[in-house]
């Protein structure tokens, strides 16, 4: 949005080290005092294909990918140079140049690996470069890396060139290499970095860089974290020591982070035969007295519908995470979408109850992971943490102090053996696990192996001792009590304040959004206000129980509201209207479902088209505008 930012895109093939290189570069920028935000784009393919990561760095806070970018490091896809691959996928080596140019800003820089890419194969490349005032630097990164080490180290050469062309010191990059690289490959990498840097500085006039690195300063230690990291650490700090899962993109990130860390803490991770088993294991471990989680993505979560209902009926606490990707069915495994919202809200049979939280940022992902566990155990209910591929994979800097909090291993209302021996828990010599009339609807539980706590947990409707019962009075008492928990949880959440507001309180217009689009919306709100449009936003985090009062107050306070979400059918808007019961005439939708998250400019354009101009033409980007329904 300003000239004071670097948005560096590194592009190449899957398996070429794009992710690790960009992560290290982002960390180097963070260590230099800047705020950073990364955005990943990759195909569902192990090697080859076209992938890129953007690293946005600014002295100001950044919570969004930004619009386009201003520095392209086009490495080329080494794997697509296999003739067989080329036969199947076409001549992919020019993709980093041919596929990325549309979003490169005016005056941007292109560094490309002339060892792998031939710019003359790109139609009108020179004309476009001239037209857009792009500064093009063809460098033989592959050759340099091959001469001094191994071909794969061309990423390092690219980073060296980047530093030379942006005026960035090599110190932080070198430090990171020393931290992260094994001895064996460290020296050649350091040498390649330095050589590329020196060569570029010698060959080109780089004292006044085309795109500079801003300067900034942090007043406390920053950590580079992804949403998946934050969710995992939140679970660990809340005392979760058991996870069961089955691999599925993008949930696998949380699963692997937990699996790596739990055994170090004496916890247990289980990779099992399918997602039904995974969620059932989490239920079994929780029943036996351990804080447990499982999770999946769309199709895998569909299988968890059964154990989810079982957890609800047996009032067994459990946390499931759902990392959304584009659906239906297998959909687009590596592309974000928010269209599992209704799936997660309504899956499983009967009047089942659950908590659904959708964090909007990496910081919130940590907090809401903790809240999801706390609510699950305090209220004996399944909690679902709903996020998407974007939030799970993006990385940003978060102050370390954000995570400096007390652990909370408590199991909630769980009775000691002394308490179990007392009235009223054992009224007739039997433990009444599912008492009808209790505060908050939460009936204290026992754990197998405890004296005096024997009970039956069953997915059938049951009486206070847990035995299967179908009497009308008992049915009503039990279902009312289970439902009552949601009211208590809503009151609890009201004290935590999980929503995120941006813009002036007395704004004329509003934007409602949820989950990973929150940061992008907030950036758009800032720009709109700068441009003189009075607008505020509310990023809603609690999907169930829904913060009806807060959302109603927000909608009430403005003339019109744009609902921004990554779905084709306006699922979030539907949820808002379902809970508010009216205000349809105030709500319009801005939807995007092409596999890419919103950019701030798309929201600005969409808002202006929908609200300011009111013609409903939501810009030239892939966005869909659905006007107000009226009620």
């Amino acid at each position: 949005m300003t000239d004071d930012e670097l948005i560096w895109r590194i592009s190449g093939g899957s398996g070429d080290g794009i992710a690790s290189t960009s992560q290290n570069f982002a960390k180097a920028l963070m260590r230099s005092g800047l705020d950073v935000f990364t955005h990943r784009h990759y195909p569902s393919r192990i090697r080859g294909g076209h992938t890129y990561t953007e690293v946005r760095a600014s002295a100001d806070p950044v919570n969004s990918r930004g619009d386009g970018y201003n520095f392209l490091l086009a490495l080329g896809d080494s794997f697509a140079r296999n003739p067989q691959e080329e036969a199947v996928y076409g001549n992919e080596e020019i993709k980093p140049l041919s596929e990325n140019l549309d979003e490169l800003r005016q005056g941007g820089v292109i560094v490309y690996d002339e060892g792998l890419l031939d710019a003359s194969e790109i139609p009108n490349f020179e004309e476009r470069a001239e037209e857009n005032d792009w500064h093009v630097y063809p460098l033989d990164l592959r050759g340099l890396a091959r001469d001094m080490g191994r071909e794969v180290m061309r990423n390092t050469a690219g980073v060296g060139a980047t530093c030379a062309l942006t005026g960035m010191d090599l110190d932080h990059v070198q430090d990171l290499m020393r931290d992260a690289m094994p001895e064996k490959i460290l020296d050649p990498n350091l040498e390649i970095l330095q050589t590329a840097y020196d060569q570029v500085r010698e060959e080109y006039d780089v004292d006044a860089p085309d795109v500079g690195v801003p300067t900034g300063e942090h007043d406390e230690t920053q950590l580079l974290m992804s949403g998946s990291d934050a969710i995992s650490y939140g679970a660990i700090d809340e005392g979760c020591r058991f996870i069961a899962g089955y691999p599925m993109t993008p949930w696998t990130e949380v699963f692997t982070i937990m699996t790596k860390n739990l055994p170090k803490l004496g916890g247990i991770s289980e990779q099992v035969e399918d997602e039904i088993a995974a969620a059932a294991l989490a239920v079994g471990a929780s029943h036996a007295g351990v804080k447990a989680m499982s999770g999946s993505s769309g199709g895998g979560f569909a299988l968890m519908s059964e154990p989810l209902g079982l957890a609800e009926m047996t009032e067994t606490p459990v946390v499931l995470v759902e990392a959304m990707r584009a659906g239906p069915s297998t959909g687009m495994p590596t592309k974000p979408e928010q269209s599992d919202l209704e799936h997660v809200l309504y899956t499983s049979q009967g009047d089942s109850q659950r908590v659904v939280l959708a964090p909007g940022t990496v910081e919130e992902a940590y907090e809401q992971s903790r809240i999801a566990f706390r609510l699950a155990y305090e209220y004996q209910i399944p909690s679902i943490l709903l996020y998407d591929q974007k939030l799970g994979g993006e990385m940003t800097n978060v102050p370390k102090s954000h995570f400096d909090r007390e652990p909370n291993p408590t199991l909630g209302k769980t009775l000691s053996e002394d308490a179990l021996a007392e009235e009223p828990h054992s009224a007739d010599g039997k433990f009444h696990r599912f008492q009808h009339d209790v505060e908050d609807g939460v009936s204290p539980r026992s754990i197998p192996g405890q004296k005096g706590g024997r009970f039956l947990a069953t997915g059938n409707e049951h009486d206070p001792t847990g035995h299967i019962a179908e009497s009308p009075d008992n049915r009503v008492a039990q279902i009312d009590r289970r439902t009552q928990k949601l009211e208590a949880i809503r009151a609890d959440l009201d004290t935590v304040d999980t929503g995120s507001y941006a813009g002036p309180d007395d704004a004329q217009y509003g934007i409602l959004t949820f989950g990973s689009q929150q940061g992008t919306v907030e950036e758009a709100v800032g720009r709109l206000n700068d441009a003189g449009v009075s607008v505020k936003s509310y990023g809603v985090s609690d999907m169930l129980p829904f913060p009806t009062e807060q959302v109603e107050a927000f909608v009430e306070s403005v003339d019109e509201v744009l609902v921004v979400e990554m779905t084709a059918s306006g699922q979030f808007r539907g949820l808002v209207q379902k809970n508010l019961g009216r205000y349809g005439e105030k709500l319009s939708s801005l939807l995007k479902y092409n596999g890419n998250p919103f950019e701030p400019a798309e929201i600005v354009d969409g808002f202006e088209a929908a609200i300011v101009e009111g013609d409903g033409d939501a810009s030239g980007h892939q966005t869909t505008f659905v006007p107000a329904a009226g009620d």
């Binding site: 230690t221 920053q222 580079l224 650490y233 660990i236 700090d237 020591r241 058991f242 069961a244 860390n261 055994p263 170090k264 803490l265 004496g266 916890g267 247990i268 289980e270 099992v272 035969e273 039904i276 088993a277 059932a280 294991l281 239920v283 079994g284 029943h287 036996a288 007295g289 351990v290 447990a292 059964e306 154990p307 209902g309 079982l310 370390k400 995570f403 400096d404 909090r405 652990p407 291993p409 408590t410 000691s416 053996e417 007739d428 039997k430 754990i447 197998p448 192996g449 405890q450 005096g452 706590g453 024997r454 009970f455 039956l456 947990a457 069953t458 997915g459 059938n460 035995h467 299967i468």
Partner: protein
């Protein structure tokens, strides 16, 4: 007082302790083989010395799932086919619990077949009893995975075209370290086998032939059984995998020819249980995980102190 003081308590246990105080009348049909499983468990548990409160019984759905209502232990009546994943997680969370899972042939070999294979493969230290009556009972008489080929039912009116599942061979091949078959018509053997299965350190699979007098009058489970471990005609070594496999094959074929052979077919005392394997590679704590949540002196570790510096 320990948190789980019911675990490991040594005392005389009365069989009636396993009977719920307010007796729910079993809704099984008169003459149902399921009564025999209930009886065998009530006899076996006190003899093994496991109290109702240190025992967790996990069941699936169907007539067999009602076992939970008539055997008063800690219980988890789960969902169709899913007793095993719930049971094995409970065992991992607290290995001191006596974990028993039970289900029917549809529940265990059909809808839960995948879990059966993988639980056997992992060799969790638990007992799994499958009430095998070759029929779906509670849904009123449909063909099950163990119904013989040609079996006619409302869902297979022309007679099943499928070969029945061979559960003993399946279990052995999947990796169970104890495999036995017993029959409701043989209560003494049933009790002995359940005792052995509970005492076995590893996954003990008991295929329990239970007659269904209402929906499957033609099944062979009513005919007199032959105890293969007692009979000289069937000389094989249950600790020898190859001999056990051959004996299972014969047993599983002869069942549908009208000859009911029962007994212990495979016993591997040497294979470590899954929990032991996990502990050996450092992926499971020595002390039961569930105990930790009750230990006031335990210092809960934080990500802040352990994992965050690598992100700096």
């Amino acid at each position: 007082m320990s948190t789980f003081s019911a675990i490991g308590e040594e005392r005389e246990i009365d069989r009636d302790e396993y009977t719920p105080g307010v007796e729910p009348q079993p809704t099984w049909c008169p003459g149902c083989g399921d009564f025999s499983v209930l009886k065998a468990l009530k006899q076996a548990l006190p003899e093994v010395g496991r109290t109702p409160e240190e025992t967790l019984l996990c069941t699936g759905i169907g007539c067999s799932g009602k076992l939970n209502s008539y055997l008063d232990t800690y219980g988890f009546h789960t969902i169709h086919g899913r007793s095993l994943p719930v049971a094995r997680a409970a065992k991992l969370a607290n290995p001191d619990l006596e974990v028993i899972a039970a289900g029917g042939d549809g529940d265990g070999y059909g809808i839960g077949g995948n879990h059966f294979i993988h639980t056997a493969r992992e060799n969790h230290d638990m007992t799994y009893i499958v009430f095998n009556n070759e029929i779906f009972g509670l849904t009123k008489g449909q063909t099950s995975p163990t119904s013989p080929k040609g079996h006619k039912s409302k869902t297979q009116p022309s007679g099943s075209a499928k070969e029945p599942i061979k559960p003993l061979s399946m279990s052995l091949n999947a990796g169970a370290s104890y495999v036995a078959r017993t029959a409701a018509v043989n209560p003494n053997q049933a009790k002995e086998i359940i005792i052995e299965a509970i005492e076995h350190d590893g996954f003990a699979h008991v295929d329990f032939l239970t007659q269904c007098p209402t929906w499957n009058k033609d099944a062979r489970q009513y005919v007199p059984y032959i105890d293969v471990n007692e009979s000289d005609d069937y000389d094989f070594d249950p600790t020898d995998r190859v001999e056990a496999a051959e004996m299972m094959r014969e047993t599983e074929e002869s069942l549908y020819e009208g000859k009911v052979l029962t007994g212990r077919y495979y016993v591997d005392e040497d294979r470590p249980s899954y929990g032991e394997e996990k502990q050996a590679i450092g992926e499971m704590p020595e002390e039961p995980l569930a105990e930790r949540y009750w230990d006031d002196d335990y210092e809960w570790e934080r990500s802040h102190d352990h994992f965050l510096d690598k992100h700096a």
